[in-house]
């Protein structure tokens, strides 16, 4: 009887404690202890996998580790980091799409390797690689073609980042118009979707896009 009452009282106090999750049966403290501490494999393999130098990888990792001490970024952290750069608008949707693009293994978290590999494509890859990456970003369901709906979503997320307070005021159909223009430009065979070949073809012919793709090369 005594032991039962002790357990009883323990569970009562745990409930009051509110850190106890009856579903999983573990307290919040336990969960934190068992948090993933992920380490990247090593500097040399990463240097081989990516086009960054050792030094650049060191700088990148220091920044990464500072913000995410556990070694992985989950979507919430990703969104919160990204939103600090765009305080006036709502960057959560775009951050979500970005996260999907970075999370190549689709397991809900971005490790340093994923991060660096994607960055390497963006910053040090060939123009085709970069365009491929951008296409992959737009292709939300990763089926090889970008439909109008997908593009509309992407466009909305970009326009959301501008926020409400712009001059002149943002029209409501601005994203839609933009999507129309995009499809008009890219969709050569007018089948309602943009495939990777159409995309590549159109982009490679457009001077300003080519130029802007190289703009961030010196970022790291």
């Amino acid at each position: 009887m005594k032991s039962r009452s002790q357990d009883q009282s323990l569970s009562d106090s745990r409930e009051l404690d509110r850190s106890y999750d009856p579903l999983t049966g573990s307290t919040a403290d336990d969960e934190e202890l068992s948090a993933v501490r992920y380490r990247p494999e090593g500097l040399d393999p990463l240097v081989q996998k990516t086009n960054f130098s050792r030094r650049e990888l060191q700088v990148l990792y220091r920044g990464f580790k500072n913000e995410c001490p556990s070694g992985v970024v989950n979507e919430e952290t990703f969104k919160s980091i990204y939103s600090q750069f765009f305080p006036h608008g709502d960057s959560s949707m775009y951050a979500h799409f970005l996260f999907e693009a970075f999370d190549t293994r689709n397991n809900g978290s971005v490790t340093f390797e994923d991060f660096v590999v994607s960055l390497s494509i963006i910053l040090r890859g060939s123009i085709t690689d970069k365009l491929n990456w951008a296409f992959n970003l737009y292709d939300l369901n990763k089926d090889g073609c970008v439909t109008r709906e997908e593009m509309t979503e992407i466009m909305h997320s970009i326009y959301d980042m501008m926020g409400k307070y712009t001059y002149p005021c943002m029209e409501d159909n601005a994203p839609k118009e933009h999507v129309d223009n995009f499809f008009q430009k890219m969709d050569k065979n007018n089948d309602g979707v943009v495939t990777i070949e159409e995309f590549l073809e159109t982009c490679q012919k457009d001077e300003s896009i080519m130029q802007s793709m190289h703009m961030f090369d010196s970022v790291i």
Binding site: G63, E67, I81, Q84, M162, Y167, H178
Partner: protein, 641 residues
Amino acid sequence: MAAGVAAWLPFARAAAIGWMPVANLPMPVAPAGKNKRQDEMIILNVSGRRFETWRNTLDRYPDTLLGSSEKEFFYNEETKEYFFDRDPDVFRSVLNFYRTGKLHYPRYECISSYDEELAFFGIISEIIGDCCYEEYKDRKRENAERLMDDQEDNKDAKPPNMTCRETMWRAFENPHTSTMALVFYYVTGFFIAVSVITNVVETVPCGTSPNQKEVPCGERYTVAFFCMDTACVMIFTVEYLMRLFAAPSRYRFMRSVMSIIDVVAILPYYIGLVMTDNEDVSGAFVTLRVFRVFRIFKFSRHSQGLRILGYTLKSCASELGFLLFSLTMAIIIFATVMFYAEKGSSSSKFTSIPASFWYTIVTMTTLGYGDMVPKTIAGKIFGSICSLSGVLVIALPVPVIVSNFSRIYHQNQRADKRRAQKMQKARLARIRISKQGTSNAFLHSKRNGLFSEAPEFTSSTEEDQRLNKSTSLLESQHHHLLHCLEKTTVTSPLNYINHEFVDQQYYQQSYLEAGLQNYPSRSPSLSSRDGVSGTCCTRRSKKQHAPLQNASGPAHMQPLTQVHAHPRGLQELSTIHIQPLSTSRSSLNMRVDEPASLNCQSSQITTAIISIPTPPVTTSDGDAHLRAGPAHQNVVKVSAL
């Protein structure tokens, strides 16, 4: 930008590649890095202790000593390090601020030395993180009070030119300031004591009357007591009237507790004077005399401890309420039980439940008078349970009250906590003010032509130097990123509406005015003169704007007409003179109220170069984002710090 996230700026910029294929316009050129030197270590020698950190770490906060070029004054050429002759222990906290973005206040540190170090390194104390801010503020307040107390002891000279009324009030509130006041203080104290003792002695039986009955002294020496009472009341009345006269705010004085006590203390006497020896009301009159005992509360003016006690009881109201409530509950329960238990026995004193209340109270408080005792066995059992539980019920809330009392007794300054609430807002406002720099920087950079559209305008060395002087590389990169976003959200090259980030108020205004004016085009063009342009199609005739400071720098930005290869015609824009660079807070360019030349063709360039706001933000709406202040200013909310 938060320190930690600064490291992610390259990522954010790289991610902007997702906008590129979608954008219809060429992007502005990225700011050239400061010759892309490798991140180097800096050695900071503080009184012999060497701290090493990356240069980038220090550059995160360009408006502090270490983040700006001010540290060059401390550079030691021979040892190639920066030497500061300051306290190395406090410097630890300062450096950690750069590293982590959070400033902590170490508890063992003296508050004034900490403040001095912060002032030296150019860090405002409002940035102290929430974990340490309470402690910091408490210590600071204690220190300030201590200093004030010391000062008060020293300052005895009364400020000159005080009116008679103010002198009197001062004398009343601070008896030690003058001899007269002290005399007055003691006299009133004496009379209060006399009055109370009189009230008490009045009821003592002294001597017997002729018919062998004990007579209280009050009836025996009626005249004497009456004279004493009169004297005391006269003194109290005079004192009350004098206080009323001297009070700075009579209405407030009349509402204060002390004055109410004064009034209650002297009123019975006057009422007694007015009423005659009417038998009907004499009963009521007797009741009124009870109020004379309130004179003893007048002592609270003379005793600080009494005031604190009263104050504590007031602040422990909730605990007291809880105690009362739980007692009431228990009393009712036990009274009911005892009543029904004792119902059976004859000659039981428990005649009703309310009658049992008395027994329950006496038992629970362990008084046990014994005038009512249970006789049945059930009654006795329940009675014992009652007394046992009484101890528990009373013992539980009492320590709470006691601890409350001791806490308040030690820090008997509740008013300061209320002031702290206001200071929270003021603190946020101050942080916002000091961080205006970053928010203005976006507009500064725009104005200074960092976002020129033609490649040939980016890399003049002159401009580079200005760049270095005005904004850190991080900031310029961030602004470039935002500018790219603006450029991306242009729906088509044929319908060029360049949306710019603006301030909320500006937006609301332009929205309103645009609606009123009802122009077909939403993208008017602007003429710009002398530095700042900035109207939309509506006029801002109501605002007064100071004329711009004259531009001393050369025109940096050629008319944008030359830059864009635009299918339709472009509006000619006059040259924009760039203002001399200055730190954000001091730049004083206001919007010039110019008649905007309207152009109703729909495909004109909108180049709204928004003017920079300058006076510090004074709003304190508690918003974490930097919002602009007065309505005629525009702040681009660039960084939420």
